[in-house]
Each structure stands twice: as C-alpha cells, then as structure tokens.
C-alpha cells in the first residue's frame, strides 16, 4: 500500500508521464538507446533528490526508449538498439504494405502486455527467481546463446541454411576484432587505432539495415511507401482474427522473455531474438511463410519478449544488487548515487522504494499505451513524406546515429563501406540479420566460453554439465534438421518424378 500511494502521488505521476514522453521521442533517434538516454537523465534524477520519484522517472524513460526504438525499427528499418532488431523483421515489411499504423499498434499493445505481465511476475516471483538465476553458470549462458544463434540461422536461411550460418559466423568473427575485456590485448586490428575498440554495434546495425534499405529505395522508387500510396494509414485497428492470433504469442513470449531477462547478462536482446525464433518455429507452415513479410505474430513476439525481459532484468538488480544488463547497471549507479543500496535487504529496509518501482512499471506501461496510441497516426505519417526528402533524412539519421555513438568521422566511412557490402550481400540473397545478431552476441558468447573453459580446464564442461549438453544438442538439431528435411523432400520429389 505504501508503494501504491507513493507511485500514485501527483509528482510521481508527472514523473512517469514525462519519462515516457522523453524516452519515446529520444529513443526514436537511431543511436540513442535506453542505456544512453538513462545515462543522460541520471543528473536530472539525482537533482530530484527523492529516490522513489527519481526511479519512477528513470523507469518511464526506460520503457519509453524501448518503445521509441521499435518505432524507428518499424518505420525506417533503422533499429537503434539491439533489442529492437527482431521487430524490424516484420514491422518494416508491414509498414511498407501501408500498415505502419497497425504495426505500431501491435508493437504498443504487445509492449504493454509484455511489460505488465512481466511486472506481475516480478511482484510474485522476484525473490524465488533470483536464486534460480544464480544456478545458471557461464557454460549454460554459452549454450543458451548458441541455441539462440542456431535458431536465428535456421529461420533466417529458410531453404538456404548454409548462407545464414556463414553470416552468423561472419558476425562472430567481426565481434572478435579489437581489444576484448577478457584478454586485454588487441586482436586483428592490423595496427589501426580506429579498430582498437572494435566495430560499433550501431554502425553495423545502420549499415546492415537502414543503409541498404535506403539504397534499395533509391534504386527502385516503386518500393517507396509515399510512391506506392503506402504512406496513407489505411488501417490502424487490429482485426479480431489478428488479436486472436497474437494473444497466445504475447502470453508465451511475456513469460519466456521475463525468464530470460531474469538471467544476468542475457537481457532483452536475446529474449527478443529467441521469442521471434520460437514463435516462427512453432507456427503452422502457412504462418511460417508470412514471417519476414509483415506477420503480426512476428511483431508481437519480440516486442512482448523484450519488454517482459526489461522487467525481468530488475529481478537480480532489486533482489541481489546484480545488474542483469547494461541499462540496469546504469540504474544501479543511479540507485547508489541516490543512497539506495539494492540487495536482499531492500525489500525489508525500504519497501516503499521497492514497491514504488514495481508499481511504476505498471504505470509506465499504461501511460505509454495511453500516450502512444493516439499519437500513432501522426508518427506513422513520417512514411508519407515525399521520397526526395525522406531518403536524405534517413541517410542523415543513419550517419548521425553512427557518429553520435563514437564521435569519430572514420565511423562514417566504415558505415558507408559496410553499407555497400551489405547491399551486395542482399543482392545475392544472403540474410543480414544473422550477421548482426552474431556480432551482438559474439562478445558475450566468447566471454562465457572462455570462462567455462577456464573453470573446467578445457572443453570438458560440455559433457560435465547436462544442461549445457542438452542445449548444445538442441542447437545442432536446429541447424541440421531443416537441411535434412529439405534433402528428404527433394529425394522424395525426384522419386515421384522418376515414377517410383
């Protein structure tokens, strides 16, 4: 009750509304993800003084930024943060069909449901889950990431798994360039200072998605939404059939996303990719065909999963004082600056803060939905901007996103170079998403692999830990099964043709 009255005070309600608005609008700028926005907002939060109000503001900014990131993913195929990459797989194709409003509505509702279900789970199971999360060791994290990568490769390379696997491996190779935290020595930098800290995620994301798409729009003007009449927001409402189809997806992915979010280090990115991959794999054959072409399920799955994971990542933070992701690490810094020490005693010593944060999550999601649903038709109007103005602006935001992150002009040249390579790869039907996902997970994968190798003095951890072995077997099946099925189908078809 104390948390309820704290969260519903006028000041705190204004904080959550302000936070959601700031987060949504800044989050739309590619290159500024929740982590950067929260970091920028920390001085403001500290000035407020009251820890509950400050945390409520930051939670609002967090949710707003996650939704803002999805908006740029859906409208211009420019995922500013890793956790919204999966949303662009179906969100952008749907926007190109003139259903940008519907795509944004599905994203808003799925985010709301994911966040709300996550908050309920957080309230109910936080202390118990924190102890379970600690049972996961580096070898299980490593295996979990391999499963995620295999699932992505299997779905991205429908009919051509080798290309998807190669792209994933290329992404992993790119992640090894630069000075990693594990070994503190430069690798494959060829003596270039600009490669010392490796490639930037945001540059690669822009080069893989936004830049090739902008170039495709230039090459073939009929693809442009404004040229094809897609800029009109034809239907904003979700049909009853669509609602029926996405409801179980949201339910499943909210729970799965939350559980993945609880694991320290896993976070919203893995949750969104796994959510997308799982839903695609369990869908019927006809529905599977729709994935990647504007499927409502393809938007609902990553959106509900990443929002639930955001909430889940608060479990280790609030109950153990362990930040589960970069964003919660910054929040931990803010908590400490506000004289709050998260940990097992937070719930006992300062229950008003603990419960106020949880209730502010409900509020944040609700406010986000109320604020964003009426704004969607106006946000989606961006696509109605004439092509001659829209394309230079997409290119400019692509460049800015990359520049702001590093403050280095060389980054822009790398962006153009990778953008050209990505366009050529797209000509030859190489899927680009696995490359980016491999790059995102590469560092974490290697860190966990190295830690497991050191703990078990070699690769023995694969056999010694049953959960690791089980997960790795699933990963192998995910990659091999589609090729095996295709080979069998071909053999059967050839048999029929031969009259057997």
């Amino acid at each position: 009750m104390m948390g309820l009255s704290t969260a519903f005070s006028l000041t705190n309600l204004l904080m959550v509304i302000g936070g959601c608005l700031i987060g949504t609008f800044i989050g739309m700028l590619p290159g500024l993800g929740p982590m950067s926005i929260i970091a920028i907002m920390i001085p403001v939060a500290i000035t407020i003084g009251d820890p509950s109000a400050a945390l409520i503001l930051l939670a609002g900014v967090y949710y707003g930024a996650v939704f803002g990131g999805s908006t740029s993913s859906i409208l211009i195929n420019a995922p500013g943060v890793a956790s919204t990459v999966a949303t662009s797989f179906d969100g952008y194709p749907m926007a190109r069909q003139g259903k940008a409003g519907k795509a944004l509505t599905i994203a808003a509702i799925s985010s709301f449901c994911g966040g709300t279900i996550g908050a309920i789970l957080l309230m109910a199971f936080a202390p118990a889950l924190a102890t379970v999360a600690l049972l996961f060791h580096s070898s299980e994290y490593f295996a979990l990431m391999v499963v995620g990568l295999s699932a992505i490769a299997a779905f991205a390379g429908t009919g051509n798994v080798a290309k998807a696997v190669l792209m994933t491996l290329l992404g992993l190779i790119m992640a090894t360039i630069g000075e990693g935290a594990q070994f503190s020595m430069p690798r494959f930098t060829m003596g270039l200072m600009d490669l010392q800290s490796g490639f930037s995620f945001i540059t690669l994301a822009m080069a893989m998605f936004a830049l090739p798409e902008a170039l495709y729009l230039v090459l073939d003007p009929s693809r442009s939404a404004s040229e094809s009449g897609g800029g009109e927001i034809k239907d904003l409402r979700i049909t009853r059939e669509e609602a029926k189809a996405i409801a179980p997806v949201i339910g499943r992915q909210s729970i799965q996303g939350f559980l993945i979010g609880v694991l320290p280090g896993a976070g919203a990115t893995i949750a969104s990719f796994l959510g997308y991959a799982v839903e695609r794999n369990i869908a019927t054959k006809e529905e599977q065909e729709m994935f990647g072409k504007g499927s409502a399920k393809g938007i609902a799955a990553p959106e509900s999963a990443n929002n639930a994971a955001c909430t889940g990542s608060f479990v280790p933070l609030l109950t153990l004082g362990i930040p589960g992701s970069g964003t919660t690490a910054i929040l931990l810094g803010a908590l400490i600056a506000l004289n709050v020490t998260p940990g097992p005693r937070l719930m006992i010593d300062e229950p008003q803060i603990f419960w106020a944060v949880i209730i502010s999550m409900y509020l944040g999601n609700l406010v986000l939905l109320i604020l964003n649903l009426p704004l969607i038709p106006y946000i989606a109007k961006i696509l109605a901007v004439p092509r001659n103005y829209l394309i230079p602006f997409i290119l400019f935001f692509t460049l800015m996103g990359s520049y702001i992150g590093q403050n280095n002009s060389t980054e822009l040249l790398i962006l153009v170079g990778f953008g050209i390579c990505a366009t050529v790869l797209r000509f030859a039907d190489y899927p680009l998403a696995p490359l980016l996902i491999g790059f995102i997970l590469g560092t974490m994968l290697e860190d966990n692999f190295s830690r497991a190798m050191q703990l078990y003095d070699g690769p023995g951890f694969i056999l010694e830990r049953p959960m690791t072995l089980g997960l790795l077997v699933i990963a192998v099946i995910l990659v091999v099964l589609p090729s095996y099925r295709a080979r069998r189908a071909r053999a059967r078809a050839e048999g029929v043709a031969d009259g057997d």
């Binding site: 290309k163 696997v165 090459l219 394309i391 400019f396 460049l399 702001i404 962006l415």
Partner: protein
C-alpha cells in the same frame, strides 16, 4: 558462377586470412603465464575460422541446394535498369559528408548534405528544400549539443568553435 558463390569465395579468402592470423601469428607474443591457461586469445577465433571456412566451402562447392526459388527484390544482372547513378552519387555524398563534418562544421555540412541529397533525387523546389534543410539541421544540432550535451562542432574549424 552465380553472385552468391563469388561472395562465398571472397568470404572464404577473408576467413583463410583470419584463420592464418589466429593459428600462426597471434600466439607468438603471448606472455608465458597466459600460455598455461586452457583458453588463449586465439582459441575462439580458431574455432570460428575452421567453422567459417567449412561453411563457405559448402556454398562455393554448391553442396547445399536451395529448396525454394526466390524472386530477387532487385535483379543485380540488370542494375542498369534501376537508378544506379543516383545511388552512387548519394554514396559519394555520404563519403563527402564524413570527410567534411569536422573541418566544415555540423551546420554547413549537414545543410549541404540534405539539400544535395534532395537535389540528386530530382527535387528542384529550392523554396522548400533550403528552409527544410536549415530548420532540420538547426533542430538536430540544438537537440544533440544543447539538450543532450553531446559535442558537435557547429562552425568551420577556422572560426574557432
């Protein structure tokens, strides 16, 4: 040979160079205490190099047959039929922007980029192009530099800001 196999061949070359680096050059300078570890900085790259070489060979040799024929969004064999000139000019403009951003300052280079981009795409209504470009540049600069506190040099280097 189809474009995808040519690309796989190029990736194979890159992976061979990467593998050479991982297997033969990285471990030479490893301090003795690190050599006793079960995992070296080259361990993971070695695994990746082997897997990537094997996978690219599968594509180069055409061992995996595609199960479905996809219609390409853009047919690279008929690139001349598309607006290739505009795409190349825009890429050139992006390179120019990257080179000019620091010396010319954010305000000038961005305005020129936005106006130039629209011009390349065929827009000739300068009465709209110029005010839109100037306004957008000013707003973005204000947001990034003043509101968010991320430094963007507004003016050319010789003006001292």
């Amino acid at each position: 040979m189809a474009l995808d196999r040519w690309i796989a061949l190029v990736i194979l070359m890159i992976c061979l160079a990467y593998g050479y680096g991982a297997f033969f050059t990285m471990d030479g300078s490893l301090p003795p205490f690190m050599q006793r570890n079960p995992v070296w900085p080259s361990t993971f790259p070695k695994v990746l190099a082997v897997l990537a070489i094997a996978t690219s060979l599968v594509i180069v040799l055409g061992l995996e047959k595609s199960t479905e024929e996809k219609v390409p969004e853009i047919n690279y064999r008929r690139l001349g039929d598309y607006h290739l000139g505009q795409a190349l000019m825009l890429l050139g403009l992006m390179v120019l922007y990257a080179l000019m951003l620091r010396p010319a300052g954010f305000l000038i280079s961005t305005s020129v980029f936005l106006i130039g981009g629209s011009f390349i795409l065929g827009e000739r209504k300068f009465q709209y192009m110029v005010p839109i470009a100037l306004l957008a540049t000013g707003i973005v600069w204000y947001l990034v530099q003043v509101v968010l506190g991320i430094f963007l040099r507004p003016m050319p280097f010789f003006m001292g800001v």
